[in-house]
Amino acid sequence: MNFEWLGRQFDNIVFLLGWHVLLAVAPLILGLLIALPLGWWAHRSRRIYPLLVGVAGLLYTVPSLALFVLLPLVLGTKILDPLNIVAALTIYTVALLVRVVADALDSVPEDTVQAAKAMGYRGYQSLVKVELPVGVPVISAGLRVAAVSNVSLVSVAALLGIPQLGSLFTQGFQLRFLTPIIAGILLCVILALILDGLIILLNRWMTPWTPKVVAS
């Protein structure tokens, strides 16, 4: 480890970290917003469920580098535009979360849904006030997977020259110099842990009602 180099590069590393956070978190939020209605649709219709979940699974198998290269053709963006990364990772997030949202809504006890209807909740009221809140633990579990996956996928964008922590890897390879590579890996891991922790905290804050289980 060359700490002197790290000190000199500090501003640049912070700059790369900032981009990394943005490129990982923005798709997470966008993806969740898109997955909510799609997941609800899959939950509502037994015929749509296998179709949506199947397509989502297929999307996830498209290699990320291929998607980064293909998307400019579809979106009409420049190849170096960070929007491509946001779009690609949004697709992956949606692919992960459609099933998660559908399963979260499925996890709400039938008695609870029926009671909500019988109490006079209209369909959308029941969804917003009862079903989604009760599904939060399942959704957060899926969100944690998507967050960590996004943090690692963003670094692939280094091959296209879009600035983020992955740039430290390419830099290290070109200079045959280990320090930036180790720094990049460490920061990615720490970032993933922090995002994961934030989602856990958010979940805990939103679900004070879940049984406090003793760790087994």
């Binding site: 006890p109 008695d111 609870t112 029926q114 009671a115 909500a116 209807k117 019988a118 109490m119 006079g120 909740y121 209209r122 009221q125 009862v130 809140p133 009760v134 939060v136 679900t207 004070p208 009602w209 879940t210 049984p211």
Partner: protein, 368 residues
């Protein structure tokens, strides 16, 4: 009043769940739908608040057909209690109970105040208000379910097997409390159960349904026991219906009581022996409340609590023939203990006393 007029529910695959049902649940009364599984009782119940839409026929709520009403608004007028309570797991108990008032536009604060009153009414301590459903036992959750259904003070209540998911002891307790509550509030209630004993215990009137969704008989509990309409009803009501119908026969004034000498704890065996009729003597406490029976010739020295035989039940003088007969049959001395409304001893009866009274009055007056 809730009225079914020729209501049929048929599914596309040809199954008929409810077939031409005509039924009237009078205002302020508890009407019970009972029958074996597959008789369409739950389907019938759910058609009232339109969780299920009838294929044909009309259901009236106070003479207005429900089919023309907005389903959500209709449901806000009807309390609904289901088997496993179906509480909202993400809301505290007080907010669960406040659900319908909030939906009806009441302020959260006002709704919570009302909810706290209702919790007290169904026997839930105020300390439960801030708890979540998973922290309550099944019986407590069911009380919350009842409070939630009552919170908007609806004129109508629908109850789908409300007491069947709890153990027998809690069930009996919930049933008794619910009967007491219904006497105060007088809602128009339709309750579904598969348990004929529950139906006979709780119902003002009982509708027995048969598989295929047809009404077999609609009658008061004692009529069902004494005059079942056909073999199906007779069979469904059960084998020991002769004995159980005594549970609806008023005992007051029909049976002559025999005076019973009694002793208290601490009496010497010799004195107890002198008071005994046959081998047994009745032991009471200082307020003449019966404690149990003892056999003085088996005791040395003083009469103590451990000498008591506790198998006998005691009947209230204003109770039913069934209680009197049971008191006599369960007593080791074969003399059934009869007490007044304060629980104080007034005398005893034998089984033959009770049977004589039954034979003397072929048409026993019903207790309700």
């Amino acid at each position: 009043m809730i009225k079914f007029e020729n209501v049929t529910k048929a599914y596309p695959d040809g199954t008929v769940a409810v077939d031409g049902l005509n039924l009237e649940a009078p205002t302020g009364k508890l009407t019970i739908l009972v029958g074996p599984s597959g008789c369409g009782k739950t389907t019938s119940l759910r058609m009232i608040n339109r969780l299920i839409e009838p294929t044909s026929g009309t259901i009236y709520l106070d003479d207005k057909p429900t089919s023309g009403m907005d389903a959500a608004l209709l449901r806000l007028r009807i309390g609904y209690v289901i088997q496993h309570a179906g509480l909202f797991p993400h809301r505290t108990i007080v907010d669960n109970v406040a659900t319908m008032p909030v939906l009806l536009g009441e302020s959260r604060q006002g709704a919570r105040k009302k909810a706290l009153e209702l919790m007290e009414r169904v026997g839930l301590p105020a300390s439960f208000a801030k708890r979540y459903p998973w922290q309550l036992s099944g019986g407590q959750q069911q009380r919350v379910g009842v409070a939630r259904a009552l919170a908007s003070d609806p004129a109508f209540m629908l109850m789908d097997e409300p007491f069947s998911a709890v153990d027998p002891v809690v069930r009996a307790q919930l049933q008794d409390e619910f009967l007491r509550l219904q006497r105060e509030i007088g809602k128009t209630i339709i309750m579904v159960t598969h348990d004929i004993d529950e139906a006979l215990k709780l119902g003002d009137q009982v509708a027995v349904m048969r598989v295929g969704g047809k009404l077999a008989q609609m009658a008061t509990p004692s009529e069902l026991l004494t005059a079942p309409a056909d073999e199906f009803v007779a069979d469904f009501v059960g084998r020991d219906r002769g004995y159980r119908s005594l549970g609806f026969a008023n005992a007051a004034g029909t049976v002559t009581l025999t005076e019973e000498a009694c002793v208290t704890l601490g009496t010497s065996a010799v004195e107890a022996q002198s008071k005994a009729t046959g081998a047994w003597v009745l032991v009471v406490d200082g307020n003449r409340k019966p404690l149990g029976w003892a056999q003085p010739d088996l005791i040395n020295g003083e009469l103590k609590r451990e000498h008591l035989n506790l198998s006998g039940t005691s009947a209230s003088s204003s109770g039913t023939m069934r209680q009197l007969l049971d008191a006599a049959l369960s007593s080791p001395s074969r003399r059934g203990v009869v007490v007044d409304s304060n629980g104080e001893l007034i005398g005893t009866v034998t089984a033959s006393d009770v049977v004589k009274a039954i034979e003397a009055e072929p048409h026993l007056e019903t207790a309700r």
